[in-house]
């Protein structure tokens, strides 16, 4: 029950953030995307760094993930 309430709260927060994001959209046209198309503006620009970091933090902290799915499990003691 408590988990369900938490889930609802998180979903509400997600929807709230989504509406903020959508509300701020400014319709960037394809010919206006020279900055957004740059390598350093991609969400996976640091893919190898973040994947190595995720593995380190997964084995040293109590929570992990969130960005996407990490590749491969580990025993990690």
């Amino acid at each position: 029950m408590k988990a369900d309430m938490n889930l609802n709260r998180k979903l509400a927060l997600l929807l709230g953030l989504s509406s903020l994001a959508l509300g701020a959209c400014t319709h960037v046209e394809p010919w206006q995307r020279e900055v957004l198309a740059r390598d350093d503006m991609q969400l996976d620009a640091n893919a190898i760094d973040t994947s190595l970091d995720d593995h380190i933090y997964f084995s040293k902290e109590g929570t992990s993930g969130g960005r996407g799915f990490g590749g491969g499990g580990c025993g990690c003691n």
Binding site: L22, E61, G75
Partner: protein
């Protein structure tokens, strides 16, 4: 009511943005010639202070573009770990002797020091492959498989995701599922929960020791992720993910133990091994965690360009039914140095609350709790990472990079788990680590 308002607001915003939508290309990097491999490789050294865990790791991610947004991605990692890891036992005023996990012998921790299990060593292989392609206008689908192997741990997983572009491809919604099956084969066998650490049998043959219930256990992990990526302007991009993770099965760490202590003083209870036997000189019990864990997290990431400088800010909130709540805040700022190199400082802060069953130790006269673990990773903890990356592009279009970071972790047991005098002399396995990485990015 407020939630309904937000939902209506989101729907209106989506509808308003949708009205202006038309078929235009998605955000994409400058297209590489089809058929080429784009390879990102790295060598990583991770080293903890005081002779604890050291890791050498080689990783490569290779992406091949088959044109029309059809891509194959392969990645492989080889890890070699050595060093010592905290066992969960508390530091004491006298030296403490423990049986090694294999049962082949004992090791002794000097007085006043945190007990570390130095038999920790491992080599890990991981391989992942994924394929992505458009399946209809505005829809992209991907499918991935992954495997990893250590001498005592195997993982196999599948994942699949679907994305849909909206709003002139200014908005992307995504959904993904992942399922993992893991098997653990602990050295010496699977410990019986809360059974006592046995005496050594003197044989380092990896055979099953006393107080074990078999040779292997398994766990399953299901992950679900929903994400929104939104272009906020010509220089700015936001991603928000909600994810849900359900783990079930063997979630206990088979190598972690708890010290049984005097209920008045909080000092470890003394035990004398039988004549002629080698074994622990205290009472140490194998830990026991719940066999399920449900976790939710919300992750947001903003990328903002300031005339060529790129700021990346990420935040994650995570909560679970083990009562570990965490906040992670991190930032990177990419500063171009001329036209072919950049410097990127990185700062990260992490904080978490303790698991409900985390204990610093167990009182000798009290009934055993349903679950208990003294693993410091389940304690209240804070961590900082500070570092920077430098990268330089060669005349041929390849890029090499070097990254140096420092990690500092401080943990503390919740006051209610302390017994007797422990509040005055608690020692936690705080540590510092250095992360050094060399990378090379090239095309074949």
């Amino acid at each position: 009511m407020a939630q309904d308002d937000k939902r209506i607001g989101a729907s209106l915003a989506a509808a308003a943005c949708g009205l202006l939508g038309s078929a235009v290309p998605a955000i994409s990097r400058a297209a590489d010639p089809a058929g080429n491999w784009d390879i990102d490789s790295a060598f990583l050294y991770y080293g903890e202070s005081d002779g604890r865990v050291q890791d050498l790791s080689l990783t490569a991610i290779a992406v091949r573009d088959y044109g029309d947004d059809r891509k194959l991605s392969l990645d492989g990692t080889l890890d070699t770990l050595t060093g010592a890891s905290p066992s969960g036992a508390i530091a004491a005023d006298r030296p403490q002797t423990f049986t090694s996990p294999s049962g082949g012998g004992t090791y002794t921790t000097p007085a006043g020091e945190i007990p570390l299990d130095s038999s920790f060593h491992d080599t890990r292989f991981a391989l992942n492959a994924s394929w992505s392609q458009p399946i209809a206008r505005l829809y992209t689908w991907n499918l991935g498989v992954g495997l990893s192997s250590e001498y005592d741990y195997q993982h196999a997983g599948v994942n699949s995701g679907l994305t849909r572009d909206f709003n002139e491809r200014n908005t992307t919604l995504s959904m993904a599922l992942a399922y993992g099956m893991d098997t653990v084969r602990p050295v010496g066998g699977v410990p019986i929960p809360f059974a006592q650490m046995p005496d050594a049998d003197g044989e380092d043959d990896g055979g099953e020791q006393a107080n074990r219930s078999g040779s292997s256990e398994s766990k399953d992990v299901l992950d679900v992720l929903f994400g929104v990526t939104q272009v906020l302007g010509r220089h700015s991009l936001l991603r928000v993910n909600y994810s849900y993770s359900d783990s079930s099965g063997y979630l206990t760490d088979p190598y972690k133990i708890l010290s049984v202590v005097d209920p008045v003083t909080g000092e470890p209870v003394v035990r004398t091994p039988p004549p002629g036997a080698e074994g622990p000189d205290g009472i140490y019990l194998f830990e026991h965690r719940p066999d399920s864990r449900r976790r939710q997290s919300l992750y947001g990431e903003l990328r903002q360009d300031f005339s060529g400088k790129v700021l990346q800010i990420g935040y994650r909130y995570s909560t679970d039914d083990w009562e570990i709540d965490s906040h992670t805040l991190e930032g990177r700022l990419r500063l171009p140095l001329g036209s072919s190199s950049y410097l990127e400082p990185h700062l990260r802060y992490y904080t978490q609350t303790a698991a409900s069953f985390y204990r610093y130790s167990l009182a000798g006269d009290a009934a055993l709790p349903e679950f208990a673990s003294a693993d410091a990773r389940l304690a209240d903890l804070d961590a900082w990472t500070l570092g920077a990356k430098y990268a330089r592009e060669t005349a041929g279009g390849s890029e090499w990079s070097a990254r140096l970071e420092f990690y500092h972790q401080v943990s503390k047991p919740p006051a209610q788990t302390l017994i007797g005098n422990q509040s005055g002399n608690v020692q936690m396995p705080d540590f510092d680590a250095v992360i050094l990485q060399f990378g090379y990015h090239f095309k074949l």
